[in-house]
Point group: C2
C-alpha cells in the first residue's frame, strides 16, 4: 500500500456504501487499513460505526476500536455493540487498550462489561484500572514475553514462539526468576545470533532501563525517546515485572502533552477536546477569560488613575495600545521559547539565570529599535520630540519587563513545582499591560505636563 491520505471522497464512498448492500460495503472496506477506518469513524454516526463493526471479523474490529482516538469515544461504540460480538472484540484487544477504553465508561457500564468477560481477562483489566491513566502503570501492557535465565537457546526460542501468539512485537525479551522478579533483558537478535549451545544467562543484559508503575507518563516518554527504546519494562517496588510500555503508546502521549502545553500557554484548559462542541469550549475558556477580565480591569485602573493626563494629551490614547500590544507580544515570544525549552530539558540554576539575562538583553534591544521607530513617528507626525522620548523610554522599559517576566515566571513556577505552561499569555500580558501604561502615562505626566 502506498502511503496516502484519506480525503472527503473516501468518507463519501463509505457513506454511500453504508446505504447499499453488505457485500459492497465489505468489498470497499477491504481497501482500508484498520487505523484508516478508525479515522473514517470520526465522520460517521454511531449507528453506522456499529453497522460496520458487526460486519467485520472480531480481530479487525478490535484493531479499529483500539485505533480510535479518545475524542471519537470508542467506549460509546463498544457499549452499543451486541454482547456476543463485544465479547469477541474484547477478547482480541490488548489489555492496555481494553483498559483505556473501559476506563472512560461510567461505573455501571464498566461493571456490566467486566462481568460478561472471561474471568482471567476481567482480573487483569480490573487490576490495570487501579493505575492512574497518566502513569507508567496506566500506559503499560501486561502481555510480555518472559524466559528464565537457565534456559538454553533452543528452549528460549520455543518459549518465545509459544508466548508470542498474542503479542505483535517481541524483540525485547524479559528474563525473570520463578517469582517474576526482573533480572534483565535479552534481545531476540542476540538469541538468534548466539551459538546453538548458548544459554540465556550468557546473553542477558542486566544493565537496563526500567520504570516503576507510578512514574508519570511524560517521564516514560522522555526515557523511551532519550534511550531510543522500542519498549520499557514496568516493575513494582520489589522489581517484579508488571508489564511493558511500547514506543507507539508513547508517541500518542507525546502528542497529547504537546497539545496540553500549547493550549495552556494560550489560556485554554488542557482538557478541552480539540474537536469538542461549543459547550465544552465555553466551559474550558470562559474561566480564563474572566480571569483575564480581572487583570484587564487592573491595567485599565492605571489608565483611570492617569485620566487627567490622557484628557490633556489625547494622542497618548493611541500610543497606549502600541506600547501595551508590543509588550504583550514580546512577552509571548519569550514565554513560548522558555516554556518549550523547559519541556524539552530541565535547566540548571545557572542556565535559568542566563536565560533571564538573555531575555532581558533581547527585550532591551528589541525595545530600543522599536522605540526609535515610534520616536521618529512622534517627532515627524506629532511634531513633539519630548513625546517621542517618553514613548521611546516606555517601549524600551516595557519590552525589558516583557523579557524578564516571559522567561522568569515560567522558570520560577518550574522551580516551585508548578507546571510552567500555566504561565499563560493571559498572566504574562497583565504585567506588560500594567507596566506599559504605568511607564507611558507616568513618564508623560512627569515630562509633558
Amino acid at each position: 500500500m502506498q502511503s496516502f491520505e484519506l480525503d472527503k471522497t473516501d468518507i463519501q464512498k463509505i457513506k454511500q456504501a453504508l446505504e447499499g448492500s453488505e457485500e459492497e460495503l465489505l468489498l470497499l472496506l477491504e481497501d482500508y487499513h484498520a487505523s484508516e477506518i478508525a479515522i473514517i469513524f470520526e465522520s460517521i454516526s454511531l449507528e453506522d460505526q456499529k453497522k460496520i463493526i458487526h460486519l467485520l471479523p472480531a480481530d479487525l474490529a478490535s484493531e479499529i476500536i483500539s485505533e480510535m482516538s479518545h475524542e471519537a469515544h470508542p467506549e460509546e461504540l463498544l457499549i452499543e455493540i451486541d454482547a456476543e460480538k463485544r465479547q469477541e472484540i474484547i477478547e482480541e484487544l490488548d489489555y492496555d487498550d481494553a483498559t483505556d477504553i473501559i476506563s472512560q465508561m461510567d461505573a455501571e457500564d464498566q461493571q456490566e462489561i467486566l462481568e460478561e468477560m472471561d474471568k482471567e481477562d476481567a482480573v487483569n483489566i480490573r487490576n490495570l484500572l487501579t493505575y492512574p491513566e497518566d502513569t507508567a502503570g496506566g500506559l503499560m501492557n501486561t502481555q510480555v514475553i518472559k524466559v528464565d535465565a537457565e534456559m538454553s537457546k533452543k528452549q528460549a526460542i520455543d518459549q518465545i514462539i509459544l508466548q508470542s501468539e498474542e503479542i505483535e512485537e517481541f524483540y525485547t525479551i524479559y528474563v525473570v526468576h520463578d517469582d517474576n522478579v526482573l533480572q534483565g533483558i535479552v534481545s531476540l537478535k542476540d538469541i538468534i545470533k548466539s551459538k546453538a549451545n548458548a544459554k540465556v544467562a550468557d546473553l542477558v543484559n542486566t544493565d537496563f532501563i526500567y520504570v516503576r508503575a507510578d512514574v508519570d507518563q511524560e517521564e516514560v516518554a522522555d526515557l523511551i525517546s532519550q534511550y531510543n527504546l522500542t519498549s520499557i519494562p514496568v516493575v513494582d517496588v520489589n522489581m517484579r515485572l508488571l508489564g511493558r510500555v511500547t514506543f507507539d503508546d508513547v508517541i500518542d502521549v507525546m502528542e497529547e502533552e504537546n497539545t496540553e502545553d500549547m493550549l495552556k500557554i494560550a489560556g485554554v484548559s488542557e482538557d478541552e477536546e480539540l474537536s469538542g462542541n461549543w459547550i465544552e469550549a465555553v466551559k474550558s475558556r470562559l474561566p480564563w477569560l474572566i480571569l483575564n477580565l480581572g487583570t484587564a480591569f487592573l491595567a485599565s485602573s492605571v489608565i483611570r488613575y492617569f485620566e487627567p493626563t490622557v484628557s490633556k494629551i489625547v494622542v497618548l490614547a493611541g500610543y497606549m495600545t502600541i506600547i501595551a500590544g508590543m509588550g504583550g507580544n514580546a512577552a509571548t515570544q519569550a514565554l513560548a521559547v522558555t516554556v518549550r525549552r523547559i519541556t524539552l530539558s530541565d535547566l540548571t540554576d545557572s542556565q535559568a539565570y542566563r536565560t533571564v539575562i538573555k531575555e532581558l538583553t533581547v527585550g532591551f534591544i528589541n525595545g530600543a529599535v522599536n522605540g526609535l521607530i515610534v520616536f521618529a513617528f512622534a517627532f515627524f507626525y506629532d511634531g513633539s520630540p519630548l513625546l517621542g522620548l517618553v514613548i521611546f523610554l516606555a517601549m524600551t522599559g516595557n519590552l525589558i519587563i516583557a523579557g524578564i517576566t516571559g522567561a522568569g515566571i515560567p522558570l520560577l513556577l518550574k522551580r516551585v513545582g508548578i507546571d510552567p505552561a500555566i504561565a499563560s499569555s493571559i498572566i504574562i500580558t497583565t504585567f506588560t499591560d500594567v507596566f506599559g501604561f504605568l511607564l507611558l502615562l507616568g513618564l508623560a505626566s512627569k515630562l509633558l505636563l
Copy 2:
C-alpha cells in the same frame, strides 16, 4: 540501570574529574549511558568534550556524538577531534547520523572530512547529503537488511545474521529483487515462527506502507505514528529501495515540529534555537515585532480617528484596553485549538465550516458573559447604563470576531497551502485590536455624544 535524571551534581562531578587523572575520569564515565554523556556535553566546554571523546573507545564516542542535539553542535566537536580518532568515530556512525552532522559544517570542512573517509562511506554520505534535511531521504538510513523472495527460511536467517552486523535493529526485513526493487516486507517474527521448509515468498507481505525520498518529514512522522511502525522503507520513483526511517528518528522530528508550531504561533521564527544566544533571538524576533508595530499603528490610527470622542469621554480610554485585550486573548485561544487540530488531523471542508461556526458561538457566549460583567461595572461604577450598553456590544462583537478570525484564518491558510501556524497571535490580534476599537469608539460616538 534505574531510570534517573541528570542533575547539577552529575555535571559538577564530571567537571571535577576533568581536572583530575584520566583514570578517575574514565571510571566516572562508566556510570553514564552515551545519551547521558551527550546531555552533560551541553554544559561543558568544547575543550572538555574533546578530552572526554579522546579518552573513550570509538564506538562509545560515536554513540555520544550521534546523541548530541543539533543545538549542542556535534559538528564543531567532530571538527576539533584529531584526524585519526575522527576517522574511527565516523566509521562507527550510522550513515544518517553522520550525514546529519556533516550537513551542518561549512563546505570546506565537509570536503576535508569526506576526503579522509573510507571511499565507500564517502560515496554513501555524499549521496545522502543531496536529500533536503527535512524529507524522508534526509531522515533515512541506507543500511537495511534485504533478502530475496526465493530464499529458504535457513538462507534468510543466515543472511539476516550476516547483514545485521552493522545494524542495531532488524525486525522488519525487506524483500527485494536483484535490481533492488522493493517487493514487500517480512517480519523476523514470521520467519522464526515459520516451518523449517518455508520460503520467504510464502511469508512476504506485499501490502505495506512505504514513502518516496522526497516526502516531507512531518508526513513520515504521521505515517509511523498512525500505523505504529518501527520503521518505514524509503524508495525512489522506480520502487528501488533506498533506505529506511526508524521510529526513533521520528520522535525527534515530532518534537522539532511541535517546537516550530509553538514558536510560530507566538511570533518567533521557527529556526530560533531554544538555547541560542541573544543575537540569534533578536534576529528571529525583531522582524515579527516590527511587523506587529505596523499593525499596532493601524489599530492606533482607529483611536486617532476617534480622538474627539475620546477627549470628550475620557473614561473610554480605560475600556479600550479591556475590549482589545479580551479580544486578543479569545482569538489566541481559538487560534491555538484550531492550529493544533489542523496539525493532528486534516479537516474536511464541512469540519472546517463547523469549526468556524463553533468558534463564532463560543465567541458570542463568552463575549456576552464578559460583556455583562463590564456592563455592570459601567452601570454601578461609572453610573452610565448607556456606556454599559456600548461596552457590552463592543465586547460581544469583538469576541465573535476573535472566534471567527482565530479559527478561520489558519483554516484559510491551510486551504491555500500555507502553514497555518504562521497565523501567529500577532496577526490575529491585529483584527481584534482594530475591530475592538472600531466597535467601541464607533458605537460610543453614535450613542453617547
